[in-house]
């Protein structure tokens, strides 16, 4: 706006002195520092606790997986953007964020080519074909993960997490939610779910690390707190009701909230500003629906965890949620034109 004022033609002196009235849509004041790059750096900072815990728990497996996915995502972004003849976009950091989230959502044992293919699908099919960052319907990292999950079920299924007799003692036992599927209720105590010394996908094991990073994101307003709040609320209500009705045969609600990828997904994946709703009411719907689908998939599907499919399903209905939750402007609803 200011640029337009500065470069206004000053040929007619009277007109130049008179106040110029410029008509433009809101917002008229915006935070200049609130850029894509800053948001993505925020996400990378917030991801550092889960990354640290994953390296502590899984050691080199986590380092290698992170390296493969981040480098593949950056290469894929550069390649696809160059192919489309667009401006260079690696600097905004979104590809690196996709790579880190993708790596943290994979099991420790994933072969290198699976992470590589998932990264290319995430960036190519998940983002660039829609027109790049800001245009994608689905969370790119989850598109990549869903692709390899269907293509290589052996590499990402429940069996991929467990290796009996491994020197890494964490991976000799089933993941908490797989143990639930097999009927071994209360397999791991709440303390280890909090700290993260349990088996699982690389980034999801520690509830505290996810909460720390997630709270940072919410405080910085990079992520909308309504989405994780809705998700956790919905899971708590559904699992709490199940616990009250079925009693001890049902996993304790705390296990449902702290176990699996729920906290990681609720804070880092579902809050992707591109593929989640725009309005406050819509964000609550998104979070509540996400938690309900996660619980449905955990309890009634063949998979131990359903966060990835839940995020993709909710991404698919995001445009609909946006349409249904258009807020009324100041002065009442806009009258319908006949």
């Amino acid at each position: 706006m200011s640029q337009e004022l500065d470069t206004a033609p000053a040929s007619d002196t009277d007109q130049a002195k008179a106040p110029r009235i410029v008509v433009a849509p809101s917002p008229h004041l915006s935070e200049g520092s609130f850029t894509t790059r800053r948001m993505m750096l925020d996400v990378l900072v917030a991801l550092s606790p889960p990354v640290a815990v994953s390296i502590w728990v899984f050691g080199w497996y986590a380092v290698v997986q992170l390296g493969i996915c981040v480098i593949s995502c950056l290469v894929a972004e550069a390649a696809f953007i160059a192919w489309r003849g667009r401006a260079f976009t690696l600097g905004d950091g979104s590809a690196a964020v996709t790579g880190v989230i993708l790596a943290l959502s994979l099991p420790w044992s994933t072969p290198w080519y699976v992470g590589f293919i998932a990264s290319f699908v995430a960036i190519g099919i998940g983002k660039v074909v829609f027109g790049g960052l800001g245009q994608n319907l689905f969370n790119p990292a989850m598109v990549g993960r869903a692709f390899v999950m269907i293509c290589f079920p052996a590499a990402l299924g429940a069996a991929a997490y467990v290796l009996p007799g491994s020197p890494l003692s964490i991976v000799t036992q089933a993941t908490p939610l797989t143990a639930l599927k097999q009927g071994l209720v209360e397999s791991s105590d709440v303390l280890s779910l909090l700290i993260g010394n349990t088996n699982g996908s690389l980034g999801e094991t520690s509830a505290i690390a996810c909460l720390l990073g997630g709270l940072y994101l919410c405080l910085r307003r990079t992520a909308s707190w309504e989405i994780p709040a809705g998700t956790i609320l919905s899971v708590a209500v559904i699992s709490g009701a199940g616990y009250l009705i079925s009693g001890s045969s049902f996993l304790h609600p705390l296990h449902h909230i702290l176990g699996g990828a729920l906290l990681f997904g609720a804070f880092f994946i579902a809050t992707d500003p591109v593929s989640s709703p725009l309005t406050v009411k819509g964000k609550w719907f998104f979070g509540l629906g996400l938690g309900a689908i996660v619980m449905l998939l955990r309890l009634a599907s063949g998979y131990p965890e359903g966060l990835m499919f839940a995020v993709l399903l909710m991404n698919a209905v995001t445009p609909l949620i946006n349409r249904f939750t258009i807020p009324d402007p100041v002065g009442g609803p806009v009258p319908q034109r006949n």
């Binding site: 293919i117 692709f147 269907i150 290589f152 079920p153």
Partner: protein, 197 residues
């Protein structure tokens, strides 16, 4: 003669049914898990398309305009029943793997579309040429889609190479319904790039 040639060739590239006029997507997405299925579906639809185009064109002055779609459907359904019986008799395994989609040729948009858009206004010979071109274009598109999905999704190309496996760990995603949508979408994008003038 030149017009007849043009009616025939337009269906092969300029107005190739799936890639250009994007009709008949239901069988396209559903049956193209392999080259063999795509070819079988395409040839069955071509036979119905040629016969129904010819008959609709021949009867175009007798069919009352008010009930023309019902008449077209009766004509198309007749030939679909023929195809279904022939396939059950001579290509039993193929007809088993195509399943419900053979009877569903009746409601294939391309066939009804050509009857409505072309056969009811043009002579019998031109309609036959149009039907043959459109049918072969449809077959071509199904074969391309089926080959890609079979080669990358299952790692084989059964029609030519029997049981030989090309990929040790194929992308099973392409054999599923979402894989069909993604492959078709990418091919449509490619056709837009290629066809840009």
């Amino acid at each position: 003669m030149t017009t007849l040639t043009r009616e025939f060739t337009k269906g092969l590239w300029d107005e190739i049914p799936i890639f250009r006029i994007v009709l008949g997507l239901c069988p396209t997405l559903a049956v193209t898990t392999s080259l063999e299925n795509g070819l079988g579906m395409g040839l069955a639809a071509t036979f119905v398309l040629v016969c129904s185009n010819g008959l609709v064109s021949a009867l175009r002055k007798l069919i009352p305009a008010d009930v023309r779609v019902a008449c077209y459907i009766v004509i198309i359904a007749t030939f679909v029943v023929c195809v279904e019986m022939i396939m059950k008799a001579y290509f039993f395994t193929l007809s088993e793997s195509l399943g419900i989609f053979i009877p569903l040729i009746v409601v294939n948009c391309i066939i009804l579309g050509r009857a409505e858009a072309f056969a009811k206004k043009n002579g019998v010979l031109a309609s036959l040429a149009d039907g043959l071109g459109m049918g072969l274009g449809f077959t071509l598109a199904l074969c391309v889609l089926g080959s890609i999905r079979e080669l990358l999704g299952a790692g084989t190309l059964g029609l030519f190479f029997g049981e030989r496996v090309f990929l040790a760990e194929p992308f099973a995603f392409l054999q599923q319904a979402p894989g069909a949508f993604v492959t078709l979408g990418l091919l449509l994008g490619l056709m837009n790039v290629v066809g840009k003038k």
